[in-house]
């Protein structure tokens, strides 16, 4: 009977494949970020980055066209909103100029000097995204060769995008702030209440304040607090969309709409910061 040996052969093939997968998973999880399997992964990420870059450049105009087509009905409303915003901003600009003038006069009076150095940055292109729908990751075309390191912040002119979680020689993996594993120290720009912003793989992120009776209002701007040492302070994250309170009236968590439109990201900036002490200590252990 030829069917029986064939069936046995199939069974063996399946068992071998499963064992191979389990072995690779175990080795990968147990080894450090500098282990051989991680090195292989980083090597391939570097290898495919030019190809991904080329494809991204080819397909981005098509994608933008499709996205714009879907957003056509909301464009007129958006235009009206933007015109209103422009008028408001023009008024604010005049106020700001006056304040700047007053501030420079005060600085001169106090002989105050700028203590903080300008942040060093490196521009990067988005060349890939996570193929897995459970993660919100992106790949950029800058790596260790451009002084990019783990935990550095990624920003655009709109605000914070996320943090680098893995670095190859010519590419790096960015964990978006909307990823379910992302946690960033943040604060309310108005009330200075601090807390943690966590992603949940959705369009918004969740800000959990340290104090339950925190003073937070819809429309407040949330920015990075700098606590934890991985993100520089003062980078805008988003605005409060909804405040959820307990039955006792205390703040449970706050829903924040990020400023950055992740689906339209094309170019980003890596903020070159020294590696935080907490990270150096953790990796030394």
């Amino acid at each position: 009977m030829p069917a029986a040996p064939r069936s046995n052969r199939n069974r063996i093939i399946l068992i071998v494949i499963i064992l191979l997968c389990v072995t690779v998973v175990t080795l990968y999880v147990r080894e450090s970020d500098k282990g051989p399997l991680h090195k292989v992964q980083n090597f391939f990420l570097d290898l495919i980055s030019p190809v991904s870059n080329a494809f991204a450049k080819i397909f981005r105009p098509i994608k933008d066209g499709v996205v714009n087509l879907f957003h056509l009905p909301s464009l007129s409303k958006e235009r009206a909103d933007l015109q209103k915003q422009v008028a408001e901003l023009q008024r604010e600009r005049i106020d700001t100029k006056e304040m700047e003038q007053a501030l420079s006069e005060m600085k001169q009076l106090l002989h105050w000097t700028e203590g903080q150095a300008e942040l060093e940055t490196v521009g990067a292109d988005i060349i890939g995204q996570s193929p897995n729908n459970w993660q919100r990751l992106m790949i950029i075309n800058r790596g260790a060769s451009s002084s990019v390191k783990k935990y550095m912040s990624i920003v655009t002119e709109q605000g914070l995008v996320g943090r680098i979680i893995s670095v190859g020689s010519r590419s790096a993996v960015v964990q978006l702030m909307t990823d379910s594993r992302s946690e960033i120290g943040a604060r309310d720009q108005r009330s200075r209440e601090t807390g943690i912003v966590q992603g949940n793989n959705g369009e918004t992120v969740r800000f959990t304040p340290m104090k339950e009776d925190a003073d937070m209002k819809v429309g407040d701007v949330i920015e990075t607090s700098g606590l934890g040492g991985t993100c520089p302070p003062g980078i805008a994250l988003g605005t409060i969309k909804k405040v959820t309170k307990r039955s006792s009236g205390l703040t449970r968590y706050v829903e924040v709409k990020p400023f950055v439109q992740f689906s339209k990201l094309d170019k980003v900036v890596v903020v070159i910061t020294p590696e935080p002490e907490s990270v150096i200590l953790r990796e030394a252990q």
Partner: protein
């Protein structure tokens, strides 16, 4: 399976991998893109049997694991099992309609995504609770659309075995 068919399937896996990595992320709908590698693996399981599907699922999944920032081996394992089960389930249905791969891709996507997520939680890679039914449902529907294109395409490239082509030639007189 003829040698030509094996080469064709190899090309399909590599093509699905390249498209998955470079083109599909550009066409996300509701934050979700189709899983072409899984679709190809299930189609192979339907057309060639569960073991062939499992091998394609393994090869495609491993390529995806190596070239993307995720735990290496997880996609390979989940795609292998999803394609194998789809191939086994095919035998329970007495139909050659395109509805069969459509149904199997839909079920395999739910199984694969659930298992992938479960594996990441077991490995401590994922925090609870990002498990969204809407994401699973959206990807399943997206994959169903993909299989409606991929299945007829892969069915067209069936290369006959040498013995079959000899059997079909007209016998000579005399």
């Amino acid at each position: 399976m003829s040698r030509n068919r094996q080469i064709f399937l190899g090309i399909c896996v590599v093509l699905a991998f390249v498209l998955q990595l470079s083109v599909m992320p550009q066409f996300k709908i509701l934050g979700v893109s189709p899983d072409l590698i899984l679709v190809v693996a299930v189609v192979v399981a339907v057309q060639e049997g569960p073991v062939a599907g499992a091998i394609v699922g393994f090869a495609g999944g491993m390529l995806q694991d190596i070239a993307s920032p995720q735990v290496m081996g997880v996609s390979a394992l989940t795609k292998t099992l999803a394609a194998f089960l789809a191939g086994v389930m095919k035998d329970f249905f007495m139909t050659y309609s395109i509805l069969l791969p459509v149904l199997l891709v839909f079920l395999a996507t739910i199984f694969e995504m659930g298992m992938n997520q479960g594996a990441l939680i077991v490995l401590g890679q994922e925090q609870l609770p990002p498990f969204k039914i809407s994401t699973i449902f959206a990807e399943s529907l997206y994959n169903v659309i993909a299989v409606l294109i991929i299945y007829p395409f892969m069915k067209r490239f069936r290369f006959p075995q040498k013995e079959e082509s000899i059997a079909l030639t007209r016998p000579t007189k005399g």
